[in-house]
Amino acid sequence: MTKQVIILTLNCLLLLSPPGLGQTRIDAIEQQRSEHQKQLAPEKNTSAEAFLLRLKDEKILERISYGYNGLRAKLGGLVTGGGFALGPEYFREDLARGSVLIRTGAQISFKNYQKADAQFTLPKLLGGKMFVDTRASHRNYPGIGYYGPGPDSSKSGRANYRLEDTALDSAVGISPSRFIKFGGAAGFLAVNVGPGTDDRYASAETLYTPTQAPGIDRQTNFFRYGGFGQFDWRDDPFGPKHGGNYLVQYTRFEDRDLRLHDFNLLDIDLRQHIGFFNRTRVITLRAHTQLTDSRGGQSVPFYLQPMLGGSDDLRGFRPFRFSGNNSLVLNAEYRWEIFSGCDGAIFVDGGKVFSRRGELNFRDLEASAGFGLRFNARNRRFIRMDFGFSHEGFQVWFKFNDLFQQRPLGTAGSQPIW
């Protein structure tokens, strides 16, 4: 009984004590609250957060990217080795609710490489079953590297030449399913080659004869036409991790002026992506061959010969290191996810140029190997760095595009220098 009285007394004392002095839990909480109230202040984002919010809400990056009514600055986009390029571009893909794409631009680099081009595409004809793609370009590249013909050319034989060309091409394609495209294309190509302006190297015509480098002495123009077929079942064309893309293109070049350089070009590009461990690791295999065929004393001009070397094929060699009538390149690349947004890559490249189609085999391949990093956002790769090694040294590539970027379908992409 005594115990119960004590408890009752105690509880009464606790409950009857003046409020606000911490006699109850509620009081204690209220006290904490009142302490907090003394520190109340308006909610305000930090300047960094406010900046990022503004960037997103006002779509500042999109506006910069889109430009003013489609008019924007374009960085880069010239041939490898052309230097940093800048120029205006007008780009609209929102016209007629996305059924018309127009792009035109001009860039010039600090090395005075120049390019002006235009594109008019109807990508969604017949409910997306048909497309028309028309392109025109003028390029003036004053110092393209050239090492002489064939697989035995020497690294020390580097020369340079001016490549100036103007092209107009149009392709019409059918896409009966989302995997298949086929069609035909035709175009005109006017070419002017001349002495290179890179005074570190000899000009090509001083080192190589017209026999070695057909077309180095006389200019001509081409009519070109052909067909193409593509079976593309990649899971995501912008960042494939699984599936394949198989492309065959045939282009007939007809020399309209000199009648010396008629030839056929067969381009077969097979790519397979094998994803494993939930596609966090991918092996990409590529086999690409370009075979030319010229008969009756005709020859393939050196500037239209298949070329190897550079960031997209033999990555341990300089750009355009090898050129010949035919080429074969094999690439194997293993990519793995380092973190979300960055993949590591290890690669091996093998390839060769050769004069006769009978040499289309895996013998005497030039080899390179290396490693790299690929940065992506939403599975779209936007920067890659590759370090390629070969017996000729090593090359570092820093590119704002994905590996093995596909050229436009049809004749517009049939030149080796793109």
């Binding site: 005594t2 115990k3 119960q4 004590i6 408890i7 009752l8 007394t9 105690l10 509880n11 004392l13 606790l14 409950l15 004590s17 003046p18 002095l21 911490g22 006699q23 109850t24 839990r25 509620i26 009081d27 204690a28 909480i29 006290q31 609250r33 302490e35 907090h36 109230q37 520190q39 109340l40 202040a41 308006p42 909610e43 984002n45 930090t46 957060e49 990022l52 919010l53 997103k56 809400d57 006002e58 779509k59 999109e62 506006r63 889109y66 929102d94 609710r97 461990f277 939930n278 596609r279 966090t280 690791r281 793995w336 996810e337 380092i338 973190f339 979300s340 947004g341 590591g344 290890i346």
Partner: protein, 531 residues
């Protein structure tokens, strides 16, 4: 004894905190201080990502010499019911109907009449509408991506019911089907293009938006209709710190048990998108006071759904970026294959990437570090785990049924995953503290449930109980010689503590504090889990 009473009296006048107050345990948050000035704010998702990835916002236990136990809880270790959380299924089992009804079943968009589109979003891959139904109620309409019909809408229906039954505030989301004819374009509705430029919206815009979303076999559109949350939206809350203009928000969020425990809930439902941007604060007025109620939002990105596409297999396995794991991957050349990369997922477009075999509740992480999740301690985990374990198989199947998947295999797989993941959660977190709960005094004996035994995971006992006298002012305990076992000792003070231990788990203990009433039976007023 008189000196003791005098001491207690004097102590009661002191403003200092004490171990137990007479009104403990407090069940509900005290009446809120009315909010007078509060600013609507937006948070940057990029900033949140970068800051939480590269910085350590909030007061993190990993940086503290002594971990901070969960706050905003009563002496039983339960969050006080109120603006953040309320007791639901675990505490008072909900019926199947209640579970399936979820946060609401009485306010779906009126099926009769037209829905007036008053806003629309056509950017990106996931378009959406804002509509007023025939009763002038506002709803946000969200769709599935074209390639994954039923994925986001189904995930949202299931997740919203589970999270609601677990006590969190969520919006009323309804699964709806409608035809294009149901939609009527409102007056002066504008649409922003990808550069944010607004122009009047046309009927053609509406049709084009619908072209981006899947139709079902009846030619109708399936969507989530999220009823506008009552009150005024003032933006999301963060998982750290407090809202500086909210007088009621004085416990740093990283120390809130309800938010720490939400880590385990998120692991269960695969809510890797559990970040500030997917929360919502609403200023509401009830009983004459304006206060902020805190909601969990956007649960369409759960169960392997990434809303716009299936989630990355990385989801839940690793952060988007982490120094250590990135270094491991970089230098191992990817040969150190993370455990989550080996998971296998069935080909079920309506589910996305969700599984249970590789699921590890202790290793599960959201997309990037969440301070409240990082701060969780074994008692926080147990608090959430026992709630999750309270869902029976039949209940899970019933809740999954609310998603109305057209493929029965999808429903079966999701239910199976939830059941298996639930059990993994129970096994993992019932091991870290003594898995006993539901303490009460019955016929002068302290009784409790062994939740591990109840779940067929095996009993953690046998348990030993040692009784102590308890000084509620100082928290000091004094052993009562010879007082052991479940029977309450005869001679004792106003408060008793039962220290419950198990020989099989030497480092774990639960202290249960009882208040001895005069006319009423002894009451459990404190539960403290030690490990």
């Amino acid at each position: 004894m008189s000196r003791f009473i005098l001491f207690m009296f004097l102590s009661s006048l002191s403003a200092n905190a004490q171990a137990l107050y007479p009104d403990d345990p407090v069940e509900f948050e005290p009446k809120p201080v009315s909010v007078t000035e509060v600013a609507k704010r937006k948070l940057s998702d990029y900033y949140d990502l970068v800051r939480n990835t590269l910085d350590t916002p909030g007061q993190l236990n990993r940086n503290a010499s002594k971990p901070v136990r969960a706050q905003a809880v009563n002496t039983l270790g339960e969050p006080m019911q109120g603006a953040w959380w309320v007791k639901r299924h675990y505490y008072k089992p909900m019926t199947l109907d209640e579970l399936v009804a979820g946060p609401g079943k009485d306010h779906p968009p009126a099926p009769q009449g037209s829905w007036t589109v008053v806003g629309a979003k056509n950017e990106g891959i996931t378009p959406g509408f804002v509509i007023l139904d025939g009763k002038n109620e506002l709803y946000f309409i969200k769709f599935d991506p074209l390639s994954q019909p039923e994925m986001a809408t189904g995930a949202d229906q299931v997740a919203i019911r589970l999270v609601h039954a677990l006590g969190y505030h969520v919006p009323e989301n309804y699964l709806v089907e409608f035809s294009e004819e149901t939609l009527v374009l409102g007056k002066d509705v504008t649409l922003a293009d990808r550069l944010g430029r607004r122009r009047p919206m046309t009927r053609r815009d509406l049709t084009e938006i619908l072209l981006k979303v899947p139709k079902n076999s009846h030619g109708r559109y399936r969507a989530t209709a999220s009823r506008a949350i009552p009150g005024t939206g003032i933006g999301p809350y963060r998982y750290h710190g407090t809202r500086r203009d909210d007088p009621n928000d004085f416990v740093p969020h990283e120390h809130r048990r309800d938010l720490r425990g939400f880590a385990i809930v998120s692991a269960w439902i695969g809510h890797d998108d559990s970040r500030a941007i997917n929360t919502y604060d609403a200023l509401v007025e009830e009983n004459g006071a304006k206060f902020i109620r805190h909601y969990i939002l956007d649960l369409g990105s759960t169960f392997g759904s990434g809303t716009q596409r299936p989630n990355s297999p990385r989801s839940g396995g690793e952060y988007l970026f982490g120094w250590k794991q990135s270094a491991v991957q970089l230098f191992s050349l990817g040969l150190a294959v993370p455990y989550w990369a080996k998971a296998s997922f069935p080909n079920l477009p309506s589910i996305g990437r969700f599984e249970f075999a590789r699921f590890d509740p202790e290793r599960w992480v959201p997309e990037y570090p969440n301070p409240a999740f990082l701060n969780r301690l074994p008692d926080d985990e147990f608090w959430a785990a026992r709630q999750i374990m309270s869902f029976g198989n039949e209940q899970i199947h019933a809740i999954v049924g609310s998603a109305q998947y057209s493929d029965p295999k999808a429903a079966e797989w999701l239910a199976q995953c939830l059941i298996q993941r639930r059990d993994k959660i129970g096994r993992a977190f019932y091991k870290k503290v003594l898995p006993i709960d539901k303490f009460e005094v019955r016929e002068s004996q302290l009784v409790f449930e062994d939740l591990s035994e109840k779940a067929d995971f095996g009993a953690a006992g046998p348990y030993t109980i040692q009784w102590f006298q308890f000084d509620q002012k100082t928290g000091a305990t004094t052993p009562l010689p010879g007082a052991t076992g479940s029977l309450l000792p005869a001679q004792s003070g106003p408060y008793l503590v039962a220290k419950i231990e198990s020989g099989s788990r030497p480092n774990q203990r639960v202290d249960v504090t009882l208040r001895l009433g005069i006319s009423s039976s002894p009451t459990v007023v404190g539960v403290d889990r030690l490990w």
